[in-house]
């Protein structure tokens, strides 16, 4: 009996402590909680624009924040990978936090647009860009990027090198000499497959692709050397593990230097897929006017030109191209762009990635 009483007493004692603590824990659920957790909700603090991007690495974010400040824009960059930024924008559509998003390619933006997250806006520089590279309504093109097959030019002469992706698995000399991806989470990998599968469009085939097309995918995975986590393709080329693989155009020059290798790229007769990075206004922003001004500023020939010079990119803005690295401009001038039906690709990419991950990746 006394034991029960004591147990009861000890519980009362603990109750007091628990209530105190629970009060603490519960209190944190109101926005006005302690210290760090008490700053204002997003969007409420002055005129700071929240900008989502996947193009903030390698100093881009810092550069842009500083340049924007000079131009009178206070911005806060939130960096995330392409897929993460896309999912975040879609998840937040009922209570948007971002005001502007940029850097994501046309595939991601068409996905975001389909979820009704973007507000139509025609920037002041709309006339200086090729409208074909975007939807001409909600998102607008900034930077072009070619998705290429590159090879070690110290090992292969131009004649001996592959002429197209399909050579990699149909010709014995390239088998196991090329790096193949181990996941389709990245934009570059998805664009490579968009380029390959688009050639085998067949509306009666599985997911709009003929059996022949899926066979190519199967062969790609069977004959390639799987990528190694946290080991760059260029590092593997240097050590002789592989001789070729996928690469976006903007990184080649810097990597050649860092890893001391020479790389040439393949231009298949059908052309190469282009990824076009875009900018857009987020629907529901309470700083619409400011955000529009920012878009007008960032996409202008002057700023895009400076950005291109700084980061070796290829601006879409025709007037900005004069400021870009001449080698880059020449490369894109000669480049044959692959004709890809992006609506078809966007509609099917999710299902393609799923099928490839489940059935063909070994």
């Amino acid at each position: 009996m006394s034991l029960i009483v004591r147990k009861f007493q000890s519980l009362v004692a603990a109750t007091v402590a628990a209530t105190l603590l629970a009060g603490c824990g519960g209190g944190t659920t109101s926005p006005a909680a302690s210290g760090e957790a008490s700053s204002a909700p997003a969007g409420g603090s002055g005129e700071t624009l929240v900008v989502y991007t996947n193009s903030n690495g390698e100093g881009r974010g810092e550069w842009l924040t500083a340049k924007a400040a000079e131009a009178g824009f206070k911005i806060e960059i939130v960096g995330a990978g392409g897929a993460d930024a896309t999912n975040k924008l879609i998840a937040e559509k009922n209570n948007p936090i971002a005001d502007v998003a940029f850097g994501l390619n046309n595939m991601y933006f068409s996905q975001i647009k389909a979820e009704d997250v973007l507000e139509p806006y025609e920037p002041s520089w709309a006339g200086e860009v090729d409208k074909e590279l975007a939807d001409g309504e909600t998102y607008w093109p900034l930077v072009k990027q070619a998705i290429l097959l590159g090879y070690n030019s110290d090992k292969f002469s131009k004649d001996a090198a592959p002429k197209d992706w399909t050579d990699l698995w149909t010709k014995d000399e390239f088998k196991d000499r090329y790096e193949r991806v181990t996941g389709l989470g990245t934009a570059t990998a998805q664009l490579v497959f968009a380029g390959i599968l688009s050639r085998y469009r067949d509306d009666s085939g599985d997911l709009g692709i003929s059996d022949e097309g899926w066979k190519q995918v199967e062969q790609y995975f069977q004959n390639g050397s799987p990528a190694v986590a946290k080991t760059d393709l260029f590092a593997r080329i240097q050590s002789g593990e592989v001789d070729m693989g996928q690469m976006p155009s903007s990184i080649i020059a810097e990597r050649e230097k860092s890893f001391n290798v020479n790389v040439e790229t393949v231009i298949p007769s059908v052309g190469v897929p282009l990824a076009v990075e875009q900018i857009a206004l987020v629907k529901g922003t309470d700083k619409k006017e400011q955000a529009q001004k920012f878009i007008d500023w960032f996409g202008s020939a002057e700023v895009q030109g400076e950005f291109a010079k700084q980061f070796n990119s290829m601006p879409v803005n025709k007037e900005a191209a004069s400021q870009a690295n001449p080698e880059v401009v020449d490369f894109f001038a000669d480049l044959k762009q692959q004709d890809i039906d992006w609506d078809f690709v966007q509609e099917n990419m999710g299902a393609w990635v799923e099928k490839i991950e489940l059935e063909y990746m070994t």
Binding site: R6, E36, A37, G57, N87, N95, V228, K230, T362
Partner: protein, 608 residues
Amino acid sequence: MSSTPVRAMARSPFVLVVGVVLTWFIAAFLVWPNVNVLIATFFPDGNFSGRAAEKLFSSQRAMKALGNSFLLAVALSITVNAVGIFIVLVTHYFRIRGSRILFLGYATTFIYGGIVLAAGYKFIYGDKGIATSLLLKVFPGMNPAWFSGFFAVLVVMTFATTTNHMLFVANALKSVDYQTIEAAKNLGASTWTILRRIVLPMLKPTLFAVTILSFLTGLGALSAPQVLGGRDFQTITPMILTFTNSPTSRDLAALLAVILGLATVLMLAVMTRLEKGGTYFSVSKVSSELQKQDIQNPVANVAVHVVAYLLFAVYTLPVVLIVLYSFADGAAIQTGQLSLANLTFDNYVRVLTEQSGLRPFLVSVVYSALAALIAVGGLLFVARLLQKYRNWVASAFEYLLHIPWILPSALLALGLIISYDHPNPLVGGAVLTGTTVILLIAFVTVKIPFTLRMLKASFASVNSSLEEAAAIMGAKTLYVFRRILLPLVLPAAAAITALNFNSLLDDYDTAIFLAHPLVQPLGLVIKANTDGAEGTEGIANTFVYTVLLMLITGITMYLVYGRAGRRSGRKRMPAVPGTGGTLAGEVPPASATSVFGEDSKVPAVPAR
């Protein structure tokens, strides 16, 4: 300890209050967001779609990867226990020369992990690694890529995940009653018999808890298989992550996560059942402090020393190399060519002079500390109640609190967003998205299962007669909780807090979706500087951040253990009168508890 009727439990106001708060928390932050996200995933248009199961079960790759994850989980449960118990005994039970140094070596897993750890092992045993080149000189015919596949993944993950043993099993070992051991010795029991029949059985609750954690680590293995698994041993987690990121395939991710979750719950049920009914505290009237044991057999003694120091080398070499490589340029890191002449501070200068500077570090430290303290503080009471009352209501609560183990953190974050992006009565009509609180909530919730498991295990080794004895001697109930119960579980609670803190510091998966744009934690900065285009700087930055995080986590562990160790060491001298435990029974409750409290403290300082 026997089962308590629900009605009796509900009579206590303490239980009622904790119950109400707990019910609200579970409903608002564990059940509702995750039900929402699961509904959105499995019923995309309001109709259930069985497509996910069909797709998954017909995929050879998915089934093989799932099988590999399970294989790894089961294998790890065994190997981590074997290695973990060995290093705990070597540092805390047997008299081994240099056990203090050994402890520091084994403790390196406290401060780092993930992809860099896997890379560290690759620097040594990979095809261009140091050990491999040495071996090739001796056996020119061997395969340089010997360290890959299941074997390599298992080895690396085994050595990487003994942290919980070093903290919690070591802690439990200290509360083993030495008098029982002495009695057994007098009756002629061998070292081995004492270990098997007396010491290990006392450690059971903690061993069960850490076994569940090892199982879970194996199921969720990500970076070690990616770096070392090669073609033949890939696990399911990379696929779950890819599918989580693709809205059209999210149902597959959720289904896979639920399968892994159910396996975890099953494991939990088995362990809970095994744990039931045992007595895991000393029943002797007067227990005394554990003393280190000599290994009588000279051959065994030498063998144990050799193995202990070999393990020491295995544990410390990767850390040394990671620190060295963090001064090398990115190309050298990836091609494995380290030359001392090329080591510079460039990487550190680049990382530390960024515009964002130290702010993200501060943000992460504050968030992680708050979350770690709230999780442990809140669950102290919950764990005690769940350990004390055994009935279906308590079990239901316990299982519900494990929900965060079931879903990947990206899905938990998405669930919170879609549940709280509009005024919601569950949180008093507030909108949580876009505030700084939502990330704190997520941080607290993801740490609940681990915190609860370990706290519950440490309460299981508390002898309830202590509390009763103190009460009989007239101690007030609050006093009993504060001076008897709390000191006994405090070492474990401190360890849990420190581990929670460390693991949240570089979180990316949750923060990417929930962080306030003006208060961005470190994980986002790390990701921006290390990912995407991997390149040379990215890799070098990864190593620099790892070393910086090692510093922070190292300091945390020192603050929790190192200092506490020295303080208690000083206090212990006068407090424990040599071997004379006989007086302890007559000592008033206060000093009795202080002796107990220190008994179970501080792995950092080996007992004399």
